[in-house]
Amino acid sequence: MVTAYCFFHRSLVVELGFRVSHAALDPARCSAELVDAHCGGLVTFEGWVRDHNEGRRVLKLEYEVYEPLAIKEGEQVLTEAKRRFGVQHVFGIHRAGVLEIGECAVWVGVSSAHRAEAFDACRYIIDEIKQRLPIWKKEYYHGGDSGWVNCERCAHPHAHA
C-alpha cells in the first residue's frame, strides 16, 4: 500500500510514475516535481469531487482502488503518453478512501518543450485512467442512499464476454 506521494527526487519521476494516495493530494508539490529547465510548459488536470452527479446531490465519495493493478495500469498509461506524444515528464496520482466535496481525487501533470503535446498527453492520461484503472467510486447522496458509479444501471441480461 502506497501512502506517501510526490516525495521523490526529480530524476526519479519516470521510475516512480503512477501513484495511489490515501492522504490529501498536494498539487503544488506534484507540479514542482515536474519542473525542468528544458521544458517550456506544464499542463495539469485536477479532478475534484463535485456536489452533484446526474441530477443527484452528492455529499461525499468513496474510492476503492485495487492498488497492484491500478499502479501497473497507471504506469502503462504514463509510458504510452510519453512515447506517443514525445513529452518530457509525466506524473499521475489517484486518491483512495473517503473524499469530501471539493477534494482533489486525481492529479495528472505533463511538462514538455512545447505546449501542444503537453495538452494532448495530459488529456490522454486522464481519459485512459478513467477507463482502464481498477478504481470504483461510490457516491453518498442527500437522503441517505448511495450508489456505485457506472454499476447501478448496467445489469447485463446476457453473457458478459
Binding site: 489517484h94 470504483w136 448496467c154 458478459h160 464476454a161
Partner: protein
C-alpha cells in the same frame, strides 16, 4: 477439480457479502466460473463492462483457468 481464490470488488463485494472466497470448481475459464458463482450468490449480476483479472493480470473471459489461480471480478470502473 481446481482450487481457486476468488476476489470481489466494490459492488460485487457488497452483493456477495464478502471480499473473497476459496472455491473448488471445474470451470474451464472465468466466464464459466462467474456463471457458477451466480448460482451461489443471488446478487452477483452480470454487468456491462465488467472485467476479470487472473493472477493480477487483466484477462479474457475465455482464458483457461489452472489450479491455484487467483481470479478477481471487477465491476465497471469509475476512476477520476
Amino acid at each position: 477439480m481446481k482450487h481457486l481464490q476468488v476476489e470481489y470488488f466494490a459492488l460485487f463485494r457488497e452483493r456477495v457479502g464478502q471480499a473473497g472466497e476459496q472455491v473448488s470448481s471445474d470451470a474451464a475459464n472465468p466466464q464459466e466460473l462467474f456463471t457458477e458463482l451466480q448460482t451461489r450468490h443471488a446478487g452477483l449480476e452480470s454487468l456491462l463492462n465488467m472485467k476479470v483479472a487472473v493472477n493480477d493480470e487483466l484477462a479474457d473471459w475465455a482464458t483457461p483457468l489452472s489450479d491455484g489461480d487467483r481470479v478477481l471480478f471487477f465491476p465497471p470502473v469509475a476512476g477520476g
